[in-house]
Symmetry: C2
């Protein structure tokens, strides 16, 4: 199946009905298809060769949708760029991927000069809204001849998505069209996507989850409402104004949503389905969400860029606190119907139910590998299994319980402490609004468990209270040995996960005493 | 994705819960997986090489399920055999496919000697229930070592399904694992399959629709109730006894179901979803079904073996007689989210909306080709499109209106008459229970439109009444020039379609007067 099929089918079946709304601008199915064909034509006219890379540096919006269809339509490969990265990091990625064209929002126009100086293969810059020495996005579309769709499919490379890697060379995850197709086919029933649904795009479109939702919701013939950037009041307004039925939020966003003063004043009655994922969901937060959004069907999705991105789902029926299905809410779910998941030890031996090891995944959603990094690819995909780097265990019914990123595990006095477990305990404290647990170097213990805690506005909490609270819930050695109480929100990544790397850096620079 | 995944996942997630019920026998998920692994082990021990063909000649049942998983598990290719074929036809297929093993029900045991004499590549026969000079199915499973699953996937050949071809060499449709996988992923949301549903298998499992439902319902973690052969009273009893939620019926079966004296006495309240397809649905019959089964969600599926088997669906919401969505009920539906469909003329030029031409399909459900028939394959798949041989047109919203099989079209006095259109008109007559329209040779007109009509029990109808009735509904030249009124049911194919080839043969042997 070719990745642009949804656009052809939507234009045929829905004609001029609205497919997207962003910042007051509406666009219909047929118009989206026409603009896509023209943008693809423009890329071809600029000399884009088959398989050549096109980068994008932009907030979420209609052009990001058009990028997702026009680049494969023209036969190119997408390189979506994380807008939070520094210029030097972006230059590294542009050079690593050998991108020949970059499309950017005008807001990033002033950075383009720097990027173009550093990125040796870049031939053209296209700017939405225009910029000096760049091609104007709308002019280009207006002037271009529509291209024939080359219909990239199967093993054809769809995107190189750069991920994580805080040190060293950037890691470019190679996602094939087949990877994206199998993900969207699996997402439609599991996320209960249906024709005519109104989907709020909250996830940055440079991220695999944002990208996957573009393809999934469009294939389901849903209407998309696009938030250029995540913002709680904007999101609440959009849900009410557009009668949004489906959206995806990461746990931090759900926390901020529920704690927002606007929450109680907003009509959220249209919302039927809320999926969440991308980082560990604290139990206390999930209980609160179930209580405050009693009519919403929650689905947890577990995955990562290398899994395009999903491999497990926790279905709505398991989001209950009582009855025979209770208890599964602590799980990240069961393997999707397209995925095999096992728990293995460090020698890749499968572990029995209940034992903690690495979560490993096999199936058509596993990436093709890391771009031009055959050794890292071979290591990550050894034995045919994607090594997620996540620690967890599986029960006898296939429910997977995620403990932590293996690299976020704190080794203290020879004991393994999973930061997620400690965070879960701290979140049970009624005064706590946000928290994060990291390992800091310690002369006695090798590493010590360190907590950063943000109380609710108007509340205060002491380190002693937090430690005493934890001791009632988890083993002594897992409890924080130092606590930093702050009154400002914790730093977030571009995908709205709490930025532990940043907290670690801050804590090392100015260690907070217990 | 490998085709056996559903079995691994079901055994993990559902353990000993029942997956299948047939003739009072129940089998659990884990047991089905264990038996499959052992049957695969037995096939390997018999020397089955990768890609070698294993045929099956049996009624629907648990062994047919095991065949669908064990053959790919062992690395083989399935050749399911139509049980209605004559020995000579079966021998042709066994030789054409070069099958090395055949599995059969005891009921077919006495035909095995003939088949083995004629089929030169057959090395082993395995019989469920045992037979002289054959291996016993259960003994083999009991004694075998379980095999490792070779996990056939993607382009690997899954099955050769022999189809139609009333004259000449049999046509073996090559279905890949990827064909079957994309079909099941698309079917799950469109057929509203869900975990725990109770699916009644009514379609013969040697047929692509039966095969597709094995994979689809199992992947959705549904429970299957298997009817060895189609029989209306048995079906009604099974729906009531097992609280069946989903099933698939061809129009003839729906007609017989609704006309059955047991219908009104049976509790069908569990039935939520009924899909139908495989031949043209007369409108009058569909209206009656909607009226008599008001709480059932109907979905029409359009396809054929070469499409693995589906390319279009008519959603439940269009099964209405009034309101803004009415009128679509005359359509076979819109392209599925994995398919592209166009209407083209005999030179493969795409036709505008509303014009009648051949329905052509492109996408990942299109077969790999006809086994060892490269010329026929090239002709049928020319230009990358599957040429269905069906005539129809498409409206501006992508709804497809099927007119007829091109080969069932009657050319009379230079006019094209589609038999489906005439049958639709005849079915509107209140006394008509079944009918079929064929073309018969005619000295004046080249061909003439001939109708065979079966009235309801206790009713009678004359040729004149039928012709007068038709003249009120359709053009004069389309009305039957001869009518044969019969009081016995029309002959059906193994897939329960009315057998027009047989009717044509009978009518030519003893032409019925007007």
């Amino acid at each position: 199946m070719n990745i642009t099929l949804a656009l052809h089918r939507g234009a045929l079946m829905c004609g001029d009905r609205t497919v997207l709304v962003c910042d007051g601008r509406k666009i219909g199915w047929r118009e989206l298809k026409t603009r896509t064909a023209r943008l693809a034509g423009a890329l071809r006219a600029l000399g884009l060769a088959p398989g050549e890379r096109v980068a994008m540096l932009a907030d979420s919006g209609i052009p990001y949708f058009e990028f997702h269809y026009a680049v494969p339509w023209a036969g190119g490969v997408m390189v979506p760029l994380n807008i939070r990265l520094a210029d030097a990091e972006l230059v590294d990625i542009l050079n690593d991927s050998e991108a020949s064209v970059i499309i950017a929002d005008a807001a990033f126009g002033d950075r383009l000069a720097t990027l173009r100086r550093g990125a040796t293969t870049l031939r053209h810059a296209i700017v939405v809204g225009g910029a000096p020495e760049a091609l104007d996005y709308e002019d280009l579309i207006a002037a271009a001849e529509p291209a024939e769709d080359v219909r990239r499919r199967g093993e054809d490379l769809l995107a190189i998505m750069y991920t994580g890697g805080t040190t060293g060379r950037p890691k470019g995850v190679m996602q094939s069209v087949g990877n994206a197709v199998v993900n969207l086919l699996a997402a439609i029933p599991n996320m209960e996507f249906r024709e005519g649904m109104v989907y709020l795009h909250t996830t940055p479109m440079f991220h695999t989850a944002g990208s996957a939702r573009i393809y999934g919701t469009t294939t389901a013939l849903g209407v998309g409402i696009v938030l250029p950037r995540f913002d709680v009041p904007e999101m609440l307004r959009a849900i009410e104004a557009h009668r949004v039925t489906h959206t995806l939020l990461v746990p931090t966003m759900i926390n901020r949503l529920l704690n927002s003063p606007e929450f109680a004043k907003t009509d959220l009655s249209s919302l039927t389905n809320l999926s969440y994922g991308a980082s560990i969901m604290p139990e206390a937060l999930l209980r609160k969400a179930l209580e405050l959004l009693p009519n919403v069907r929650f689905t947890q999705s577990y995955g990562m860029t290398e899994l395009s991105p999903s491999a497990a789902y926790l279905q709505p029926k398991y989001h209950v606190l009582e009855g025979p299905l209770a208890g599964r809410i602590k799980s990240i779910g069961q393997p999707i119907h397209t995925a095999e998941i096992r728990i293995a030890d460090e020698y890749d031996r499968e572990l029995p139910h209940g034992e903690v090891g690495e979560i490993q995944v096999r199936g058509p959603m596993v990436m093709q590998g890391y771009w031009r990094q055959p050794e890292l690819t071979a290591q990550t995909l050894r034995g045919g299994w994607m090594h997620t780097g996540d620690a967890g265990y599986m029960d006898a019914e296939g429910f997977i319980f995620l403990i932590d990123r293996i690299k976020d595990m704190v080794i203290t006095g020879g004991e393994n402490v999973y930061s997620g477990e400690v965070e879960n305990a701290i979140y049970e404290h009624p005064k706590v609004r946000e928290c994060a647990v990291i390992g800091l170097p310690d002369a006695d213990f090798g590493e010590r468990v360190h907590a950063i805690v943000v109380p609710h506005p108007g509340e205060d909490v002491t380190a002693e209270e937090i430690v005493a609270h934890c001791r009632a819930l988890i083993a002594h050695y897992k409890c924080p040995r130092s606590v930093d109480v702050r009154h400002e929100s914790l730093p977030l990544s571009a995908t709205n996960k709490i930025l532990k790397t940043e907290l670690r850096k801050q804590s090392l620079a100015a260690p907070a005493g217990k």
